[in-house]
Amino acid sequence: MIRFENVVKKFGDTEVIKGINLEIGDNELVVLIGPSGCGKTTSLKMINRLIEPTSGTIYINDQDILKSNPIDLRRNMGYVIQQIGLFPHMTVGENIELLPLLKNWPKEKRRKRAEELLDLVGMSPNEYMDRYPSELSGGQQQRIGVARALATNPEIILMDEPFSALDPITRTQLQDELFNLQQELKKTIVFVTHDMDEALKLGDRICIMRDGQVLQFDTPEVLLRHPSHGFVEEFIGKKRMWQQPEYVKVEDIMIQNPIKAMPARTLTQAMEIMSASGVDSLLIVDDKNKLIGIATAGDIRQNWDKAKKLDEIYKREVLGVRPEDSIVEVLKMMAQNNIGYVPVTDAKGTLKGLITRSSLVKVLGEKYVG
C-alpha cells in the first residue's frame, strides 16, 4: 500500500503539490491524470524519490520512504518512462538483466528470467535477446521497457506516460497487453497519463489532479456518473459516458413515469388510459406500486368480449431490469426476447420506470446526435 500524507512539493517559490493525501491499495492499478503541470508526474516521482517532497510523508506498507535508502527503494520498484529509456549500448537481454545484475543474481538465473519476461511480453527470446534497442520498433521497445521493469518481480510498478509516444494502434495494443498482464500479475501499478481514454481503459481507480491538488479519486464508473467537480466533468468530457455504453445505466434512459393501472380497472378504462397517453401497453401494479404484470392493447382487444377487468387478462410474467443495470444488458434482453419494452423495478419489485424501443431511440438520439 502506498500512502501520501499531506505531501507538499515546492520548486523555489512555486508550490506544485499542494498537500495531497492519497491511498493506493495493493494489486490496484491507479491512474494519475490531469492537464500538464497538475503535478501528476511529480507525485509519481516522489514515490521512488527521484523527487523529494518539501513536507509531508509518503508511506509504503506503513514505512516512511524518506527514511529508507533510495537505491534499495528504487531497486524494489519497476519504473517505465515515456522516452522508454532503454540503454542503446546494451542488447535487449542486457537491458532486462541489468537490475538482476545489480542485485547480483547468478548468470543463469538472470538469463532465464529474461527469457521468461520476453515470453511474457510476447517477444520471442531467440529472436530478440541479442538485438539492440535501435533495431526494434517503438512498440517493441516499450514492451522491453515493461519487461525490464518486471525483471526482479517488484510489487510496485511506476509508469510515467509509458505509451504516449507510440502511434495510436500500437498504443491500443500495449494498453490491452498491460491490462491482461495486470489481470495475471496483480501488481500495484501507478500509471500517469494525460489521456482520459487510456485512464478509463486501464484504471481500477482514477485520480484526477489539477494545480497540485487531487480533485477526485474514484473508480471510473463513479467518475463518469458522479463527477464531484465541474472541472472533473469537463475534463472527462460531458459526452464521455455515452461513449462507454457499459457505463450508461437503465436509470439514465428510462421513462420515469410510465403509464400504469391497477388490476381492478375495467378493459374500457384501460383502453381509455392508453389512448389518452398515446401508449399501447399498461404496466399493472398493486396498491403499493409493485409491478405485477403487463397488459397490451392487443391483449385487451383479443379478450374484449370474454373479460371485464384487467385482472383477468394481464400477463403475470414480465421480464424486468433494475435501475443500476447497464444499457448493454437491456439491449441484449430486448433483442433476445424480441420485446419492445422492459419495465424497471427496484430490488423490492416496486415499479421505477420503463424502457421502450422508442424511448431508447429518443434518448440515445439526443445524446449522440443532438
Partner: protein
C-alpha cells in the same frame, strides 16, 4: 622528377637519423597525450559532478590554449630547465583542453531519459557513470583525444627548440642552414605521422562506439 629524386635520395641517405628523430617525436607525443588523458578525462568527469568547477576548469584550459606555444616554452624553462621535461609539459597542457571539453560535453549530452531511467532503476551514481554515461560518451571523448593527439604531433616539433629532439630538430637545422632538403626531411615525416595518428585514432573511435549506436 629529377628534383623529387634528389630529395628522396637526401632522405634515404639520412634514413637512420630520420627514424631516430621520429622515434623521439613519437615518444614525446605519446607520453604527453597519455598524461593528458589520465588527467583530462577524470577532470572532465569531475566537473560534470561538481558543476561549479566546470566554468573555472574549462576557462583555465581555454586560457592555456590561447597562450602562444613559444611563449609557453619560454615560460617553462625557468622552472623546468630545457630538454624533454618542459616539452612534455607544454604538449600535455595543450592536449588537455580538447580532452576535458569533450569528456564534459560527451557526458552532459547523454540523453536525460537514460539518466532518469538508470536512476529510477536504482543505479548508484558510480554505476550510472560506469555502465551508462561513460560508454555512451566514449565516442565523443575519443574524438577529443584524436584532436589532442594530432595537434600534439605538430606541437612536438617545437620541442627541438629546447633540445628535446624529435623531427623538429631536422626542420630547425634546415632553416638555420638554409637547406630546403633538410627542412623537407623533417616536415614530411612529421606530416605523415600526424595523418597516421589521425587515421589510427579514427579507427579506435569507431571501435569504441557501442554496437547498438552504430548505424
Amino acid at each position: 622528377m629529377a628534383v623529387i629524386n634528389e630529395y628522396l635520395r637526401f632522405m634515404m641517405d639520412r634514413s637512420d637519423q630520420i627514424l631516430a628523430l621520429t622515434g623521439e617525436h613519437i615518444y614525446l607525443t605519446f607520453i604527453a597525450v597519455v598524461i593528458a588523458i589520465a588527467i583530462g578525462v577524470p577532470l572532465g568527469i569531475l566537473i560534470t559532478r561538481v558543476k561549479k568547477l566546470s566554468g573555472f576548469v574549462i576557462g583555465l584550459a581555454n586560457a592555456v590554449q590561447a597562450m602562444p606555444s613559444l611563449a609557453m616554452l619560454g615560460f617553462l624553462i625557468p622552472f623546468l630547465g630545457i630538454g624533454s621535461k618542459p616539452s612534455i609539459v607544454m604538449i600535455f597542457l595543450y592536449s588537455l583542453l580538447p580532452i576535458i571539453k569533450n569528456t564534459y560535453i560527451g557526458l552532459t549530452n547523454v540523453d536525460k531519459s537514460m539518466i532518469e531511467s538508470g536512476k529510477g532503476m536504482g543505479m548508484t551514481d558510480g554505476q550510472l557513470m560506469r555502465m551508462v554515461q561513460f560508454p555512451l560518451a566514449l565516442p565523443v571523448i575519443m574524438a577529443g583525444v584524436r584532436i589532442s593527439a594530432v595537434t600534439a604531433v605538430g606541437l612536438t616539433t617545437l620541442a627541438a627548440l629546447i633540445g628535446a629532439g624529435g623531427l623538429g630538430q631536422m626542420i630547425y637545422r634546415g632553416i638555420s642552414m638554409v637547406n630546403n632538403k633538410m627542412i623537407i626531411s623533417g616536415a614530411i615525416p612529421a606530416m605523415i605521422l600526424a595523418l597516421l595518428v589521425d587515421f589510427i585514432l579514427g579507427i579506435t573511435e569507431k571501435a569504441v562506439t557501442p554496437k547498438g549506436l552504430k548505424k
